[in-house]
Symmetry: C2
């Protein structure tokens, strides 16, 4: 039996955040370590969050004209080498199948780290005319990137994601789509994950291997580090030329298409945990929480209590609320801690005295506030509370992030800023040497570029800045 007090179950969030994270993901049964180093098992409580993320994103992808498809896991090694930057970026991380069906393969096959190459090869076959464009597909799949240092959800050798891949007749349209998907990701993060994000273009150093331009959304974690929560890529004609994606245009000439790609992954679950979590454990955003409300019976043997709890559960279910009723033999206090650690947005307490008074108690996970509510209108109250919790969680995270974006005018200030758990806004001349210098001096990287018309000077070399950049330490 676990201890009654959450403080003994999980490490302190402020003094040992990495251990807090590990304790929380394991003890709430979101995830476990797989038998192969660097792999994870996504347990039902974690997978249910992913299903909710999928449902919300899939709706948005379909509404913006994407169709789902499925492309093979194994990619011929020769495909990877067709786009020079792409292979350079991904070759060191791929897992390779060399034997199959009891025989050595003629050509080694990569387990997909991403699918631009294999999808490009199919698009080349399917696209003939401008009438076939745009093509907009999405795939929900597993991918594999062999990493030296891994942590559940944040960086694992295998993870689940979606990857969108589109082809357009013009560069303008492809760029527009790249930015549109960035916008959709940002809106999704805010409205479904209650997660404020900074969006913008990545530097050359930080861009996707093979892209002309990469855009990202970055979120601030509890420790002030940044987490790249999603990226969209304008690929120009790089992959179209490597894979011969051509179309006959209206003017009768054969042209290369312009492609984009974009993805988010199970990493988002890590982002949720580290954005909203507190010393008691998880705090889950209502839209993606596997359980939105839990009913804890008080004096559960007393006449009428089990029946009333079950009736309330049924009413909530009918109204579309994801609800659990904890009828286990643990004490109410133990249950409170357990469900708080699991981050369930609303806890409903219902005992004989409440029943008599036609009331119930509800406790919000975000603020820990408790209130009395009429039993008659409990369903409406829960629904209202869930909306308020979403909004409050977003506002709180936004205020936290805003208060921790500081400006620096020197490398020392930048170092002090990131060491203090902040994002640091500073000018940058645009050259790789200065970007590398920031990394070396402050272990911080350029997360997104903000401003094209800055009056700043470069924080490293003092020359006129080309961009204002958000620097941060990052996951």
């Amino acid at each position: 039996m676990a201890k009654d007090n959450f403080v003994e179950q999980i490490a302190d969030i402020d003094t040992d955040f990495p251990q807090w994270y590990t304790d929380v993901v394991l003890k709430t049964k979101l995830v476990d370590y797989g038998p192969v180093k660097g792999t994870m098992v996504i347990r039902p409580y974690g997978y249910a969050i992913w299903e909710n993320i999928q449902r919300e994103l899939d709706k948005r992808f379909k509404a913006s004209g994407h169709e789902n498809a499925y492309f093979p896991l194994l990619i011929p090694m020769s495909f990877m080498t067709k786009e020079a930057e792409h292979v350079e970026g991904f070759a060191p991380e791929v897992a390779v199948v060399t034997h199959a069906g009891g025989e050595k393969l003629a050509e080694p096959l990569c387990v997909r780290p991403t699918s631009e190459t294999i999808i490009g090869s199919m698009y080349s076959k399917w696209i003939q005319s401008y009438r076939d464009l745009p093509v907009k597909m999405n795939q929900w799949a597993n991918v594999m990137r062999w990493e030296k240092t891994t942590r559940p959800f944040l960086r694992t050798s295998e993870f689940l994601w979606q990857e969108g891949h589109t082809v357009h007749a013009t560069g303008e349209e492809a760029m527009e789509h790249t930015l549109r998907m960035l916008h959709i990701y940002g809106e999704f993060a805010r409205s479904c994950l209650a997660m404020p994000v900074l969006t913008g273009r990545k530097t050359e150093k930080e861009k996707f291997a093979g892209a002309v331009a990469t855009f990202g959304m970055e979120a601030m974690m509890h420790d002030g580090k940044s987490l790249q929560a999603g990226t969209t890529h304008y690929l120009g004609q790089n992959f179209a030329k490597a894979f011969d994606i051509k179309f006959l245009d209206r003017d009768g000439t054969l042209k290369y298409g312009y492609t984009t790609s974009f993805g988010v992954s199970t990493r988002l679950i890590g982002a949720i945990i580290m954005t909203h979590g507190d010393r008691r454990g998880l705090v889950l955003p209502p839209v993606v929480a596997p359980v939105q409300a839990v009913i804890v019976p008080i004096a559960s043997k007393k006449e009428g209590v089990p029946e009333a709890c079950r009736a309330l559960k049924e009413k909530l279910e009918t109204a579309g609320v994801r609800v659990a009723l904890d009828e286990s033999e643990n004490s109410p206090g133990w249950k409170f801690n357990e469900w708080e650690m699991k981050g369930v947005p609303v806890r409903i307490e219902l005992g004989p005295r409440d029943l008599e008074a036609g009331k119930c108690l509800m406790a919000r996970r975000d603020t820990l506030e408790k209130g009395e509510y009429a039993l008659d209108s409990a369903v409406e109250s829960v629904q209202k509370l869930l909306g308020e919790i979403s909004e409050n969680m977003y506002n709180a995270a936004k205020a936290r992030m805003d208060s921790r974006i500081v400006r620096a005018n020197s490398l020392d200030e930048l170092l002090a800023g990131v060491e203090g758990g902040n994002f640091v806004r500073a000018g940058w001349c645009g050259c790789r040497e200065c970007e590398d210098k920031v990394k070396e001096f402050a272990q911080a990287t350029a997360r997104v570029m903000e401003d094209e018309n800055t009056s700043d000077t470069c924080i490293v070399c003092g020359k006129k800045a080309e961009k204002t950049v958000i620097f941060a330490r990052a996951y």
Copy 2:
């Protein structure tokens, strides 16, 4: 531009069924060949069928107490060898990752052909007490089995599936669950795929590698061959012992659990095609059809026609019907052929004269019958038609199958039966030699066992039969 006449597009279903299948799956854009031999790309029209299958099955799994989870793709080779029959069955088919992250791995890793072993290893860690049981999980995933001869959907080196894995305290409960899932599969096939199936236990020869008993559902394809459309396995304590899945029972003693597994795959899409297809192409069951109704405007430039078609489309969408409106520049005749080949259950034709009369024409894909319907109540008519089509498709397939199950009293009769495109019912003594003899003589295998108390004699050796068996040639 494709030819106006479907007959020239696809091979004749009765004289060259294999070519008909290939033509249909490629020309309706369900699937394409992947760049690696034996792999397939599931295109949007095919993937949408899979999404509908997933939605229907997932609902049933959750209603029967299963939770979804995700386990790693790569399985240590040493896991595979822990269950003797299992490794014997699957080792010849596995793809092996030997290198990753630029280095040779210390231990080669299998790409999962199925996940009993890796899930067993986790269950062993998670299950301690009888209070933890039963455990019922399901995973939607890709798996890989390296096959020599492949065909899209039917047999490919990679395919998508779901695999359910459960642990129970007693053998009785595990067996009950194995049969319950077989029942759920059968009900799903009938009600969602309009597909009659025979269900029953498999022979020792045909069972899953590592199972105590395998149960299957078999469907009759257009050519009279059988397709194994789903299987459920009672695994006894085989995997529990191999992976040390033990629990402390109520009586204070440590016991091994009893496990089950069960799965269906993208193969079901092949089964749908070959059960219902006709000389014009696909005939899709309404419940899983990506497009349930297509609107074809007649004289589409005439005033009022586009508006009326779009209004009808919107009404159907609002009512939850998956509907397409074909506003392309092809002729109505071309469109009729195209959408018939794609198997859309209902075609709605709407032109100026129909508009004037407040009517529209609807054509059923299953019977090819056409009728006039009032435009006012078109939505209700479509919904009613979709239900009737489902029912009729099932009844027609059932009548076809029933009429083609014949009895044989000798090997010659059995051979004649399967050569004539029938399932053959015959007695079997239960020994492997006689089963092998049937295979050798008639290229037919035991699909399911029907009767425990038969009065038959064995079709091969003439001894008293132990079982009545359905023999057939199979995919």
